[in-house]
């Protein structure tokens, strides 16, 4: 009698499916939320406040604000023209360049660190010319900025590229026909229309620069007040005072969370 057996199996499958779904989704959620809970609930507010008093904190905050600001400015100043150029070209070369620009997103941070050393280090591609000019990049603030820009730029360039591609070509042609130079079209039409997306890309780019760790450690080192940004200060603090590491981590969580909410709000508009 296959009939009742099939029916029973069907009932079981119907019951098992939601349970399985719920269990697997629950594991995923726990994996995402438990570390956050650990950060939040393992110390008293007083302990966290004391952690922020550590002498590592001040220089790291100042250095991080300074370097990420310079990195973001560099990426916006050079990444916007790159995205504009790429968005207006359809050739194979443009596609290749686009892929290369995006590569750092998927590159392991350690690889980024080695790559930066081999490009700008003493024995790197530009090591000789830079040394001749008396410039030593590794283990300097400039190295911090380079590492941050390298890993964070794709987030901005990609957002800008998508925004510029979405621009109605009719609008651009009409603006030109009305006597506007290509530069005027960019500043009065393309940039204002892409502004919300550029803002979102800049926020993601800044968040990524803020969290930059691996490449900075390898290429810029971990020198207090010189190259020790917040993520590196967290790493250093972990060896001496876990509460300082925890407080600094929570500060970064708050900033990252706020940025994410802002980007989502910007996209929803």
């Amino acid at each position: 009698m296959p009939e009742p057996l099939t029916a029973a199996r069907g009932r079981f499958a119907r019951a098992a499916w939601p349970v399985t779904l719920g269990a697997l989704a629950g594991v995923m959620l726990l994996l995402a939320l438990l570390p956050l809970a650990g950060l939040l609930f393992t110390a008293t507010p007083a302990e966290l406040a004391a952690g922020l008093g550590d002498p590592l904190v001040g220089p790291a905050v100042r250095l991080t604000l300074a370097t990420t600001t310079v990195s973001l400015a560099l990426v916006v100043a050079c990444g916007t023209p790159l995205a504009w150029l790429l968005a207006r070209r359809r050739g194979r070369l443009a596609r290749v360049v686009e892929t290369l620009v995006e590569l750092p997103v998927v590159l392991p941070p350690a690889v980024a660190g080695v790559a930066l050393l081999l490009a700008f280090g003493r024995r790197g591609l530009l090591g000789g010319p830079l040394a001749a000019l008396g410039i030593g990049l590794p283990f300097s603030r400039a190295a911090v900025v380079l590492a941050q820009s390298f890993v964070a730029a794709p987030f901005y360039v990609q957002a800008a590229l998508v925004a510029f591609r979405r621009l109605d070509p009719e609008v651009v042609v009409v603006a030109r026909s009305l006597g506007a130079s290509p530069a005027r079209v960019f500043f009065t039409i393309a940039a204002p229309l892409a502004a919300p997306a550029l803002g979102g890309g800049a926020a993601l780019c800044w968040a990524r620069a803020l969290g930059e760790f691996g490449a900075t450690l390898m290429f810029a080192g971990n020198l207090v007040g010189r190259t020790q940004t917040l993520p590196l200060a967290i790493y250093a603090a972990l060896e001496t005072d876990v509460r300082t590491a925890q407080s600094l981590s929570l500060v970064l969580v708050a900033v990252a969370g706020a940025l994410l909410v802002a980007v989502r709000a910007g996209r929803a508009r």
Partner: protein, 238 residues
């Protein structure tokens, strides 16, 4: 009276484009099936799409001449262009859209001129509204005002009535016909509607698969259609 003389060769996608036309005092209609190369022809006249050869001249002065190496930049050709979807700047109100191409020193002067042109097109009430708030007919008036405000030496209109509801199309067509007759500048109107041709233009150039298949008045085309398309087009006129 200046004339717009065009003879351009080029390629658009898979097929070759080879168009010759002259627009004088009366508007010229450019008709043809979808994908015949009508919009591409306008873009080549405008300078936004590079031809492979030929020439474009306005009042005897070359805007493009392959043989002589002349290729005036889009922004220096002073051709008024109204694209199919009007191409209004969505982040500016109607007045600033129209003021964008006005050649005047101060912003105040540009805006005054914009308001005057909008008023000329019975669209002064739209001045402070942005494109997303405007209806099809209103968008078309603003786009037309914008093209005119830069004092163009010729007008290129791409399907100016196609995006409009049937209910307003006849009104807008009448309005456009009357204005085009008054402005008397060389005008090329791309359309797929025989009623547009009858109302707006004297001469018709029929383009099929990138080539001119027939030229003449609508009546002449109807009398001796050269192709099936021309026969269907001219008999579709109401």
């Amino acid at each position: 009276m200046t004339a717009l003389e065009v003879a351009v060769r080029g390629h658009v996608g898979a097929f070759a484009l080879d168009v010759a036309l002259t627009a004088g005092e009366a508007p010229l209609a450019l008709v043809g099936p979808n994908g015949a190369g009508k919009t591409s022809t306008l873009l080549m006249i405008l300078g936004a799409l590079p031809p492979d050869g030929g020439h474009v001249a306005l009042g005897g002065a070359a805007l493009y001449d392959r043989a002589r190496g002349v290729d005036v930049a889009v922004e220096d050709r002073r051709l008024g262009f109204v694209p199919q979807r009007y191409g209004l700047f969505p982040h500016m109100d109607a007045r600033d859209n129209v003021a964008y191409g006005v050649r005047a020193r101060s912003r105040t002067a540009r805006r005054e001129r914009a308001l005057a042109v909008l008023a000329e097109l019975d669209a002064a009430a739209l001045a402070t509204r942005r494109p997303p708030e405007l209806s099809g007919g209103e968008l078309q008036r603003v786009a037309l005002a914008r093209a005119l405000a830069c004092e163009p030496r010729a007008l290129l209109l791409d399907e100016p009535l196609a995006a409009l509801d049937v209910s307003v199309r006849a009104d807008v067509r009448r309005f456009l016909a009357q204005r085009l007759r008054a402005w008397r500048i060389p005008t090329v109107v791309v359309t797929h509607d025989p009623d547009d041709v009858a109302a707006l233009a004297n001469d018709v150039v029929v383009l099929e698969a990138g080539a001119v298949v027939q030229t003449g008045t609508l009546a002449a085309l109807a009398a001796r259609p050269a192709t099936d398309f021309v026969r269907r087009f001219t008999s579709g006129s109401s």
